[in-house]
Amino acid sequence: MDVVVDPGLEHQAERARSRQGFLMGLPAIIYLFVFFVIPLGFVVMYSFATRTRTGRTELAGWNVEAYERLGEAVVRAVAFRSLWIAAVTTLLSLVLAYPLAYFISTRRPATRNMLLVGVMIPFWSNFLIRTYAWRVLLDSDGIFTRIMSGVGLGDGRILFTNNAVILGLVYGYLPFMVLPLYAAIERIDWSLVEGARDLYASGWSAFRRVVWPLSKPGVIAGSILVFVPSFGAYVTPAILGGNKKGLMGSYIVDQFMDARNGPLGSSLSVLVLVVMLMGTLIYFRQGGRSL
């Protein structure tokens, strides 16, 4: 492409291309603006609004009281516990999903599709029923409990512990990790790996220097897709953990449903959004390019 071109023409071509890109994104932009950004505007407005005596949110008497309450000890405790659980969930999911995604990517194309669909099918049953099925596996004489104590990995009921919550979250969000990992690993040019293997001799360093860096976009996308919903989850912790220690998801739900405190529920949501969005953007910068 190193032919000398008239800079004016090139500039024009650039602008045409830029316009084309914008037009491609336009349907999604319009859609998200109408059906996401405007609705989100309501939540932001709610966070500055007033809760009436009966629990309605009145769009008047604007104040920042709901934001002042974010400094309370209970919010901190709940936020840090949720962060910790989400981090462990993400790490475990990565450890479980990476080898699986690698395995799937190295099958023949027809087998690949089948294995991939095989990952998703369990999740087409019903979320609540699946989680209740885990109760059966994790209770005092559940199969999973017996296996774990048989191998010497703890004894007694797993149900209603933090471990049960993490297990349930890993189960629920593992496909979110597998899919982007698969998408990233599958497109790796294996002749590079072959070359690396000739160069470094060991399969492990070939993996570390070639496969891992190339699959990083998948790792990052997968981690976000797992971390974020684990942070806000509330059904799994309630069913498998017994809801004994507050988490962010259930705290927000309690505000909207039980306390009918729209402003506080909204300010909590805004907090989660801002922190997560910043975290996500920073994480992506670290991953090299803006994925």
């Binding site: 709940v78 005092s140 507050g246 449903m257 009918r260």
Partner: protein
């Protein structure tokens, strides 16, 4: 881009709100006659609470179709009908929720002319604290909140006290640690702790509530789960030994169990609750809804309902048709009504209950 986007968002949002805020304060009330219908009925109810045969009979009699959807909690139901335009005609809110619905003008007064059977409602439920004069609702079924116990594990002589949930010494004595479930419901859970301390479960005293909060916080480590759905199944499956929950649910599941079980309201006192039939203000078919209300308040139909769902009937005329074994069951019809208290809407203070439960578990 960013600037104009946010500007447009704000302007659009505000103009929408302005358009939507043209409220009028008139009380909506449909004028219907007995048996008059104005279309198919959309009924929003708790699950396993309505005998399908009664619905079939009403469809036959009135010549309409009934669609029944279910909700798992009052709050869930409220969230869905709050914004308006839900399309539902009749709902079955519990007592305290009725006061909220009335103050929010979300339910309409009963069209007396269309519901002559309202006179069948027993005197005790004809003038409830949450709906003076029962102007907006008619009682549907009632029951209590108490404790279910696997007496096969604890022995028959368990003390009838909230201490089973909250007292460490009692838990140790009967081996209950890790075998307790408590409702995940701010009013019921904090209410039980308040009763345990000897206070009213409608207390609006910050210091009393703080004591109750400490009681719940202390119990957290001994509790298996805060659970409002499966407390009775957990007992029957042997995962828990005592559970905090609603009377009728225990009965259903105890039938399936292999141990011996008991249910009681502790001696300190507990909750009596009433679920009520109410017609939404924006109900598309209010007359059909009132016709259905009248149908369910009929003596024989009311009895059939209780024989089906094993909750007590507020219908005095129905008693003659209720199975004797149901009437004689002290779990369904408690012998001592004096220590039972309604959960009342505490208004401003309501929010304190949720916050206390959150702090107790933080």
């Amino acid at each position: 881009m960013k600037k104009w986007m946010s500007l447009v968002a704000v302007i659009t949002a505000f103009s929408i709100v302005a358009v939507a805020c043209g409220d009028d304060d008139d009380v909506v009330q449909a004028d219907c006659e007995v048996g008059q219908t104005d279309g198919d009925l959309a009924f929003y109810n708790w699950s396993d609470y309505m005998d399908p045969e009664l619905i079939a009979a009403f469809q036959e009699e009135a010549g309409v179709t009934v669609t029944e959807d279910f909700y798992p909690s009052n709050e869930e139901m409220f969230g869905r009908v709050e914004a308006g335009g839900s399309g539902y005609d009749m709902i079955i809110p519990s007592d305290y929720m009725v006061s909220i619905l009335i103050s929010e003008k979300m339910i309409q007064p009963v069209s007396e002319a269309a519901v002559p059977n309202k006179s069948n409602v027993a005197e005790r439920f004809a003038n409830p604290p949450y709906d003076p004069g029962a102007a907006y609702t008619a009682a549907y079924q009632w029951g209590t909140t108490g404790i279910g116990v696997d007496t096969g594990v604890t022995g028959e002589d368990v003390p009838h006290t909230w201490g089973l949930l909250f007292d460490e010494a009692v838990a140790d004595q009967y081996g209950l640690s890790g075998k307790i479930s408590i409702l995940d419901d701010p009013r019921e859970t904090m209410g039980a702790a308040l009763k345990y301390l000897g206070y009213s479960l409608n207390s609006t005293s910050k210091s009393e509530l703080a004591e109750a909060e400490a009681v719940v916080a202390d119990a957290v480590d001994r509790v298996a789960a805060f659970d409002s759905d499966q407390y009775s199944e957990l007992i029957v499956l042997g995962e828990t030994v005592v559970g905090h929950g609603y009377s009728g649910n225990f009965l259903w599941d105890f039938e399936e169990g292999e141990s011996t079980y008991d249910y009681f309201v502790p001696d300190e006192g507990g909750t009596i609750w009433v679920d009520n039939m109410a017609v939404l203000t924006d109900a598309p078919h209010p007359c059909t809804a009132f016709a259905f209300m009248n149908f369910l308040l009929d003596a024989e139909n009311g009895a059939q309902l209780t024989n089906f769902n094993w909750y007590a009937s507020p219908n005095a005329a129905a008693e003659a048709f209720i199975d004797q074994e149901v009437l004689d069951n002290p779990i369904i019809y408690p012998t001592d009504m004096s220590k039972l208290e309604f959960i009342k809407d505490t208004g401003d203070f309501e929010i304190e209950y949720t916050d206390a439960l959150s702090r107790a578990r933080s």
